[in-house]
Symmetry: C2
């Protein structure tokens, strides 16, 4: 019962982008090095977060990744909905389950997933940054990648 790594690293990328000093932008290379994941995976995540306007990719000298909107406008529940391909807790269709037309389990699991997302809906990226100085120290963002 885990979020995909795609969603997980999307959230981490948003945190890391938000922690950049004023006027500085994050590079894919730095994200890759920080989390020890493949460059192609990071590229896909950054591209998707850009399509969703959570990130903006600024080209040229001094370019890089920056947030596309203020941290308190980035809702964690919405990011999870946007990044997870599937929020069905079980797969009733492959192979197709005979119980489906009368199944009570599906409704209960959907209610539980609603409660899960409902908690995340109460938080924004800003809530993940309230100890930003400690996070910046841990990421050593002031050191060269």
């Amino acid at each position: 019962m885990q979020l995909t790594r795609y969603t997980d690293y999307a959230l981490r990328t948003l945190i890391q982008t938000a922690l950049m000093p004023d006027g500085e932008r994050l590079s894919v290379t730095t994200i890759t090095a920080t989390y020890n994941i493949s460059r192609s995976h990071v590229m896909k995540i950054v591209q998707r977060l850009g399509q969703l306007s959570y990130l903006r990719n600024v080209r040229g000298k001094g370019g890089g990744i920056e947030l596309g909107m203020p941290p308190d406008m980035i809702n964690i529940g919405q990011v999870v909905r946007d990044m997870e391909a599937n929020l069905q807790v079980i797969d009733c269709n492959s192979p197709g389950c005979k119980l489906q037309p009368a199944c009570r389990l599906r409704g209960i699991l959907a209610e539980a997933m609603g409660a899960f997302i409902g908690v995340l809906d109460r938080y924004t990226l800003a809530d993940l940054l309230d100890n930003r100085h400690e996070l910046i120290r841990l990421l050593a963002l002031d050191e060269p990648a």
Copy 2:
């Protein structure tokens, strides 16, 4: 963001076992045929549900699988806790995430998972059987496997 198939089929097995007519018991062969999954997977699930006392395996003529306790004693949240190896929503340790000592995301995701399980804790197997006649018809449990 899905439960494992192991947990999913454990829940389906409990439902199917509870739907057997009085005095009749379920066979692994019937479960395998109903859900179109491998016999070895069903065996592992049935064995684990037996260890947890949710099921009892009666040997000999007329033997088979029956519930080990009344349906209203089998809590869905507890079954999910028992069957899922991991209720950590993301894996912070492989590779180890530098943010861990100060990460707020972990706490928020744990709160969300608590809400998910909290919903399931309000239901028992009995709640999944309130339309038992329709479920029995769908499973065609009165037909030979």
